[in-house]
Symmetry: D2
Subunit: 337 residues, 4 copies
Amino acid sequence: MIIVLNASATPEQIEKLKQELETYGCSVWPTYGQFQTILGIVGDTGKLDRDYLLSKMYVEKVLSVQEPYKKANRTFHPENTVINVGSQTIGGNKLAIIAGPCSVESREQIIGIAQDVKAAGAGFLRGGAFKPRSSPYSFQGMQAEGLELLKQAKQATGLPIVTEIMSISQLEQYHEDIDVIQIGARNMQNFDLLKAAGQLTKPILLKRGLSATIEELLMSAEYILAGGNENVILCERGIRTFETYTRNTLDLSAVLAIKKLSHLPVIVDPSHAAGLWWMVESLSKAAVAVGADGVIIEVHQDPSNAKCDGQQSIKPERFAALMNSLREIARIDNRTV
Amino acid sequence: MIIVLNASATPEQIEKLKQELETYGCSVWPTYGQFQTILGIVGDTGKLDRDYLLSKMYVEKVLSVQEPYKKANRTFHPENTVINVGSQTIGGNKLAIIAGPCSVESREQIIGIAQDVKAAGAGFLRGGAFKPRSSPYSFQGMQAEGLELLKQAKQATGLPIVTEIMSISQLEQYHEDIDVIQIGARNMQNFDLLKAAGQLTKPILLKRGLSATIEELLMSAEYILAGGNENVILCERGIRTFETYTRNTLDLSAVLAIKKLSHLPVIVDPSHAAGLWWMVESLSKAAVAVGADGVIIEVHQDPSNAKCDGQQSIKPERFAALMNSLREIARIDNRTV
Amino acid sequence: MIIVLNASATPEQIEKLKQELETYGCSVWPTYGQFQTILGIVGDTGKLDRDYLLSKMYVEKVLSVQEPYKKANRTFHPENTVINVGSQTIGGNKLAIIAGPCSVESREQIIGIAQDVKAAGAGFLRGGAFKPRSSPYSFQGMQAEGLELLKQAKQATGLPIVTEIMSISQLEQYHEDIDVIQIGARNMQNFDLLKAAGQLTKPILLKRGLSATIEELLMSAEYILAGGNENVILCERGIRTFETYTRNTLDLSAVLAIKKLSHLPVIVDPSHAAGLWWMVESLSKAAVAVGADGVIIEVHQDPSNAKCDGQQSIKPERFAALMNSLREIARIDNRTV
Amino acid sequence: MIIVLNASATPEQIEKLKQELETYGCSVWPTYGQFQTILGIVGDTGKLDRDYLLSKMYVEKVLSVQEPYKKANRTFHPENTVINVGSQTIGGNKLAIIAGPCSVESREQIIGIAQDVKAAGAGFLRGGAFKPRSSPYSFQGMQAEGLELLKQAKQATGLPIVTEIMSISQLEQYHEDIDVIQIGARNMQNFDLLKAAGQLTKPILLKRGLSATIEELLMSAEYILAGGNENVILCERGIRTFETYTRNTLDLSAVLAIKKLSHLPVIVDPSHAAGLWWMVESLSKAAVAVGADGVIIEVHQDPSNAKCDGQQSIKPERFAALMNSLREIARIDNRTV
């Protein structure tokens, strides 16, 4: 950590600050310039509070040198984390392909789609039972009944279930039924929910918030890891920018950044990023080409009658064709699908 | 609502869509252009789902003419909502001035600050007991004990308490102790929490999310109103932009937009927006000049030793001087402080 | 175009507006709702001014149905534009690979790199002679001398030259020496420069502005096309967002949007988008996978001694390896490099 | 400046870098941590190139401690710059009120408005002769004829003229006719134009670009100052964000930041920021309350027939009423209008 002091800082204040920092086990290396004094701090700076330092009127800037996350940090955990889900893995040499409808609508629908995406080569079934909707008047999902149907689809196909939960009470009630528990973009900084997820051992798929920086996403992962649950999968799903042609702007460079900064697996959700079905295939190919550990794709047999997100869902036959392209791109990097 | 159909739409598809829309009680007025057909839809378009329409391949665009929120909408509720909190009001001719520390730290601290801000003319006491922090390693607030101290400060000064809750369980446990329940920016789209808040009658201070549009903020308010709780106060607290000099970018035009679109009161939080104590006074003055119904300001007796957000807190004596300026600005619009 | 009138609009005002719109050759189809009147306008709405309409106090919203650009619009020009540059093409089945240093530094440097990238399979040589720098104290390029060296590199290798000009006077003086004239992101809305470029026949590589929407980029292309120059190539090079890990956020969905909205070719600049050399290869692969017509990549033999942008340049040997990967990805879509 | 080296840096590389930095007259103070080495650099770090340093593979981060602008920097020029324009000043105790139409449309129009705004107390006349428009098909201003009419309005009222030029050739041809030369948001990084403006002595009103950071705005001012022209006025006019209700998001905290970082005067343009006439008055009041040195406001006698920007113009009578409010707010800070 670097602390920049302005010209008003007196030698006494500098000495006092130095001593205070040393009580945290840090060592302090000052550099004296004409207009500023720079303190270089090494040691366990994680205990130092940036805002606390900034509240002193003679402190001009506080610059972080080390990332504020520990357990998610690749520096201290150089090898990739590979997460086991039943017979599948996420983060290894084989891509995780997660596919299914936005929301569970009926037994026939979810089992039909599950069979289709399995036949095409998907490794996981997605489907929403509890749906976060920006309008209180929109369809909020089939709730517990939807989860029951997901379980039936799992029984029918063997595909592990990936589904979102939205609250601690849902987490407590349903975590055993779900193979990969999704925490959605809107809940990325619902810290109580993250803490509760940290108490489980189930894999958690943590989506990047609409306006979350990569560092904030990793700090949210740190909440789960700090609780003891090491099975965290991150998901880039588009960020909010000034461009409104797409629902969000898919940030594929985030995949590269996250893989450099952290050992956790990262997948990409092109369906929610674009919000436009005709972009999903090309963006999926780009996601695999850039090096993501997998993709999560909305597939529906009849998008124009889907109860939600039909505009961003592709049909099973297009999904099957896409799988062939993804397989070829993966092969270039010696990966499989 | 306007639905724009592309050239591929057949007369049969248009007729079928028209009939379907009419089953929702809407009437449909088509306009035929060379490259597009435009359907003007009037009636209760709130039941129509934009995404559902967009999933049809012959639909090019869906443009909203009416706002998707009803109970928060000024069109159907032209007069300002004024909310009563004890002997105070929010939304009327008198500005709501809410002041206090970022977090409750001790009995002496919170009672001392409460007495200071009361003496300066504040109408409400703020103070955090449950703190949402981006790092799991940061101080998370005094929790229940902090709330207890807030109640003692209320007893000592008579100031109603404004404090944040972060989860449904906290809401259930503590709502009776709190005069104005704050739902923070990170929970603005925690829909289950909004629904629970809708079941209460206590005033809810709903903060705009970091990257929430004005319409999304009003939709979140709608969740609370739809549940039956009409006591919602909105708060502009800065949005995330590319500019990093300030923590967030205070969007004062949002105050004007919200007051045009909705009847709900709107206050401004300059402390969290700027994240810099030396900006707080000037931004507070601007907030009152632009027409906000109040401000919420962080005040601390010893900012450089505050346990959180000291860098954005002002001292009680500066707060008292600021109150005088706010009083003069309010007087220009025939308002009081 | 759709004009939404609020409740205050009188029948006389509506009739007068209708007549005024008809004088522009448009026909007007009104829809009467309870709170609003909606006017659907068809015909040549390009002459109608959105802001003029909004200045009427009874007009609530003006919604565009048609895109405001004509010559750049795929609706009126369904087939792809393919641009010839010497024996090379941009926009066809063969990808345009443009490579070279950020800036020309010496005869040896530019000829050496030109030979290297040609050997690896690049079709065009890039290199800056006139450099836009945010600091007046930074290296501003070798100017005319740099252009001279580019010409020598072209002679030595046969590679056509792609280089930026920054002003009308440079355009007038040097356009004959350049094969593809680049207009940079900062000049995307330098309308006088765009008009001057419209008077030429030389291909123009127009880069998307840091905060330009896709529509604004196409409107800037329209300035060039409207002047008579149909040889416009668009370039996605990252947009400014809240994320600061990368210099800008590469928006690969923009490639898909532009190809749907327009017939013009689109290439991608991963070097400027990321600003980090170790991301360039993966992002290039993603750009080809998503369907871009080419990439423009910074290559330098000694990045740590480059006079500018060394941090985002890759070495010739890595570029050669990348070309092999791009070739394999292109083959999946039946394209060549 | 702080340079953070990663674990791969060898003692030889560190020593070599240290020596290289010292050749620039800087001194280097190393701090050795477990995973990183931190180099504190003091002296004239303005000559060091951030990107050059980042291109070395053992350099992890480069953090700036000092601002990259010198002449615009308040550190080296603590007192406020006050700019004289005829008998008026900008940057002193008296607010600069600049008012007039978006564009000059006729002799009657511009003289009429000039007389009205003068009567209400404005100190400067604005009006566009050369108009930057995003569509090539929109009205582009009356050009030279418009400038002629502005001069007649100046003769009739004595108000100095503030008007935009868009290119070097216009600057050369017309700079003597203009009292304050505006460089618009889209040209904020047209560096050749900035350099040309630096050769004049006429005051330059430099508008912040749509997506320019405060530092970039000050760097663009530095281009003008470095050329020798010290008469630079900055203007906050809204930035591009995800919020689309207003045309741009007015960033009033930027006024405070700029006044802290620089000695140059700062004014605010609420008309272009909001793009909505009914917000202009309230935002003007907020701009004065926050401490801006003035405002620039669009006034038109018949906004619904204005040739451009009628939707954001207010009528002369409203402008006169607004002046009274601004006067009262200014008085609170002992300023005049």
